[in-house]
Amino acid sequence: MAIEALKCKECGTTYPLEARYVCEDCFGPLEVAYDFSGLDAESTRRRIQAGPQSIWRYSDFLPFDSQPRTALAAGITPLVRADRLAERLGVGEVWVKNDAANPTHSFKDRVVTVALAKAQELGFQVVACASTGNLANAVAAHAAAAGLESYVFVPADLEEQKILATGVYGTNLVAVNGNYDDVNRLCTELAGEREWGFVNVNLRPYYAEGSKTVAFEIAEQLGWELPDRIVAPIASGSLITKIARGFEEWLEVGLVEGQLPKFNGAQAEGCSPVAQAYEAGRDFCSPVKPQTIAKSLAIGNPADGPYALDLARRTDGGIDAVTDDEIRAGIKLLAETTGIFTETAGGVTTATLAKLAARGEIGPDERVVLVITGEGLKTLDAVRGSFETIDVEPTTESFASAAGVGAVA
């Protein structure tokens, strides 16, 4: 198989495939290194097509020697052509990758199913994570399905829906009095002290690989073709950079042809360290204190920010930030034109696409894919009060008068 080692993204030092995430020489992040020279395009494509209806059909590109069996898989979510959205925005062709259609309703099922398969391979009995909610849901659910004990650390002010949808799985839910960056710092300290598999700390190199499957699915669902542009949210910056990596790997193996799409990152203005760095022409991110309704994107200190900046620049894309009002409008726009109800993060992404369209940055022949990462039912507060109901008595007269549609002749 193709998996070789863990390799530092900064200095290239390699390490064995263990639960480690930091280069001891330079503190740079580690990622999984592969050798794809043994893969030929035709047989790889046939193997994918004959594979399971989950991310494990892409096992040749995931960090395992053989295809893992997991109790709760993820992936193969719909890629929906969104003509009404495209028409509303005045652009040619838009597709929505609806990752709300995962077992716990966000793209986090992809990364967690990979991380937990690795945790089991490495012999961990307990798994844990720092989360703003979606990851909490996914870790609690996948750990329950796998029969692993789990500890889920969240900021205490998280949306109630996300807390309830985590606790139900029987995890040890830890509400931390602080923001996500505080939770993250606590978990980084705990990961040094306990023999636990923290999916987004010491298992992070493996976990992050799961995001590549978003790219694989988009390409396969487009008939083994690449889109021209990807619009995706940025929190830590891991998702968008791994989508690019997925396309790059398939270009390398010859499963697709052409060039890497343009990448547009989306952030909420109230937590936009990467967008600010992009605007200022910097190659590093200054941390910020998050203040936004898009809590699932509220990482003030994004670990993969520098790589997201580099990606946006080298693909001639960009990184934008949108206000909370634009986020609410984005949620409504997507819902009203596609029938897809997304959470605030999806509102950020949709609003960013709308902004690009309004600025005339999207060419008439472009095929654009909007990456929707989570489910609207998890952030109901964002749409509360955004419409009025028609209140009536149970009589036809009352309805006709209240609805203003007139009596039937």
């Binding site: 001891e24 503190f27 993250n184 040094g192 941390p287 200190n301 994004p302 670990a303």
Partner: protein, 92 residues
């Protein structure tokens, strides 16, 4: 006057396995780190470059990232706790 410094696992190979140490006579984070560099061979190369910290190194005083304070010039008082951590965790 004494400041406690928490050392992450990844640096314990240069601190002789120590996970926590104390630095006396320092008034800023920069001086705390200088005190550590004097004491532990090889530590400076791991976490510092060009007079500052490497970009994937986070330093906290009392739980607050020093980039929200005064960076390496952040003042430290007797009893403060300085924590060094890798910045690469995260992804929600």
């Amino acid at each position: 006057m004494s400041v406690t410094v928490k050392i992450p696992t990844q640096l314990r190979s240069v601190t002789g396995g120590e996970s926590e140490t104390a630095v006396e006579e320092a008034t800023t984070v920069g001086e705390v780190l200088d005190g550590l560099y004097d004491r532990f061979d090889g530590l400076r190369d791991r976490i510092a470059e060009d007079g500052g910290l490497r970009r994937f190194v986070n330093v906290y005083v009392g739980g607050e990232d020093i980039r929200f304070l005064d960076g390496l010039d952040t003042a430290v008082d007797d009893g403060d706790e300085v924590t060094i951590l890798p910045a690469v965790a995260g992804g929600q």
